[in-house]
């Protein structure tokens, strides 16, 4: 794939998707979105990041409802959702698929409406995950006129490609294919129809400057909350303590 880890590429893409947001909330099992936020912070961007399940300390003092109250008020710009299944209309299923039980809907049925933008993120890119129609709608990708909704999907990022969401057409458009994958492979592995321009760009890899930050201050910021992840991505490559050299 290149002289960088897949996780580093994905974190770079998410950092670009976050863009100039003021407040990003990151859920429990989300080391790559957390890495993207740490990359923006290391670059000096003015970004407030609320890590919901920090082991020591967290941004809230009113209990776990505070996140939802903040989102309801419009104080959260970007949120992340995954899914056991995601379909071509950006519906998300966190409950059950093919007879298998998954943990449950969490706050998705609210956060997908209340956060200004939601980045859908699922590393596995297969017909098992990206389906024509989800078996259970935990949270719908769009709402009819007249139903209150502040925000919705911004993009779908997988381990193979980046899709942009087109609210007017209620369809995804293939934005770029990651180095190492091809358009043909993306078509083979995607269970829903999507739009696609005449040529498809390759996803931009992390720059040298981004990689230096990722392997230094970002690795050090991520390790306390995601020790296994940090060890997997960075320990084998270049120890965070030596990266400033």
């Amino acid at each position: 794939m290149g002289p960088y880890a897949r996780e580093e590429l994905l974190a770079g893409v998410i950092a670009r998707l976050i863009g100039d947001a003021a407040h990003v909330a990151v859920g429990a099992a989300s080391p790559i979105p957390a890495t993207a936020c740490a990359l923006l912070a290391a670059r000096g961007d003015k970004l407030r990041v609320s890590l919901l399940h920090k082991r020591k300390g967290n941004p809230f003092s009113e209990g776990s409802r505070e996140l939802f109250d903040l989102a309801g008020q419009g104080r959260i710009d970007v949120f992340f959702l995954g899914g056991a299944q995601i379909d071509g209309e950006a519906n998300v299923n966190l409950v059950r698929a093919e007879g298998r039980r998954f943990p449950g809907s969490f706050g998705s049925a609210f956060m997908y409406f209340a956060a200004r933008r939601t980045i859908l993120f699922r590393e596995e890119h297969s017909r098992r995950v990206l389906v024509p129609k989800v078996e259970f709608v935990s949270a719908p990708g769009s709402s009819p006129p007249g139903v209150w909704r502040r925000g919705g999907p911004q993009a779908l990022l997988t381990g193979k490609a980046l899709f942009a969401w087109q609210p007017g057409r209620r369809r995804f458009r293939l934005e770029s294919v990651h180095p190492g994958s091809s358009l043909e492979e993306v078509r083979d592995c995607t269970g829903f129809e999507f739009d696609c321009g005449p040529t498809v760009a390759a996803t931009a890899p992390p720059s040298a400057a981004e990689l230096e930050l990722l392997r230094g201050p970002v690795a050090r910021a991520i390790a306390p909350n995601y020790p296994a992840f940090a060890a997997k991505v960075w320990l084998s490559r270049s120890p965070p303590s030596a990266a400033s050299a």
Partner: protein, 299 residues
């Protein structure tokens, strides 16, 4: 809703005594694994062979629920999710759900918070934005949709119609008040006045405010009345909400208490692995739950 009691807090001997207060068939509100779960009392519930418990996850559940489900103590689960976090799926919940052995009331986090907040205020419901269009709505006949009466004065009816009915100009969902039979959680400190200190875990205060009875285990007894201390008071749950207390040092283990002891990740991983099969789960119970003297961490 029915009137709830102003409690005269009782002081009990231990986790077993607290578990004895919780009747079979009770609806028990439980916190997530990261928010002071009363694991010692949960193990005592398994030992006393509690039956037909109805669990309410506020707003999600983890190892507490998985132990009770695997041990056959649970008839119904209402929650937004059940998971062991970094240790993966909750294996006993997952198998029971896939085999249809549990009555499941699927929810989403803020609907549970809002229902408890309604009970805190003694009102019948709390409105919430979003949720409409989720398949959860069709499953939950107790969740009602109305037309926002502040936009459409005088025309509000709780509708049997679908939320997508074109007659609605601003549909909004109502979470019915939830008043669980029992709130069960752990606290870092208790005092002789019956107050407990929860720190920032204020969802536990919400659960206790809303519940008909609150049973709390605690790490240690603190001298003085914590409500008289300006620094401690914001993290206190007052004794008016506390039915009974009992000491349980390391009572959240293998989960953690902030600044006291961290989550025992290795134990959680070992549990997740063992509980993948019924036999492995049985062996776990024999080793860590059913033998009282082995009932806490060797650390």
């Amino acid at each position: 809703m029915d009137a709830l009691p102003a409690n005269a807090t009782r002081f009990l001997a231990d986790a077993e005594a607290l578990a004895a207060q919780i009747p079979d068939g009770a609806q028990i509100a439980l916190p997530p694994d990261y928010s002071l779960p009363a694991m010692a009392v949960v193990r005592a519930l398994v030992r006393r062979r509690a039956k037909r418990l109805r669990l309410l996850g506020v707003p999600v559940l983890g190892m507490c629920a998985d132990l009770l489900i695997g041990a056959g103590c649970v008839a119904e689960v209402e929650t937004s999710a059940v998971s062991l976090g970094e240790a993966g799926l909750a294996p006993r919940f997952t198998e029971a759900a896939e085999k249809g052995e549990l009555a499941l009331r699927e929810a989403t986090c803020p609907m549970i918070h809002s229902g408890l907040q309604a009970a805190e205020k003694g009102v019948p419901f709390m409105p919430l934005r979003g949720v409409l269009g989720s398949d959860l709505v069709a499953q939950r006949s107790d969740w009602k949709v109305i037309d926002n009466p502040m936009e459409n004065r005088g025309q509000t009816t709780i509708s049997q119609k679908s939320w997508s009915d074109p007659d609605f100009s601003d549909p909004i969902i109502l979470a019915p008040a939830i008043s669980p039979d029992v709130a069960l959680f752990h606290a870092r400190w208790a005092d002789r006045a019956g107050n407990v200190w929860l720190g920032r875990r204020r969802e536990l205060a919400t659960i206790a405010h809303a519940a008909k009875a609150a049973f709390v285990s605690y790490e240690s007894m603190r001298e003085g009345d914590m409500l008289e201390d300006e620094i401690l008071a914001p993290g206190v749950l007052g004794s008016v909400y506390v039915s009974a207390l009992a000491p349980a040092p390391r009572g959240a283990w293998p989960l953690g208490v902030a600044d006291e002891y961290p989550i025992d990740d290795a134990h959680l991983m070992a549990y997740a692995k063992a509980a993948k099969t019924r036999e492995g789960f049985r062996r776990y119970l024999d080793e860590w739950v059913l033998t009282p003297e082995k009932n806490f961490s060797p650390a």
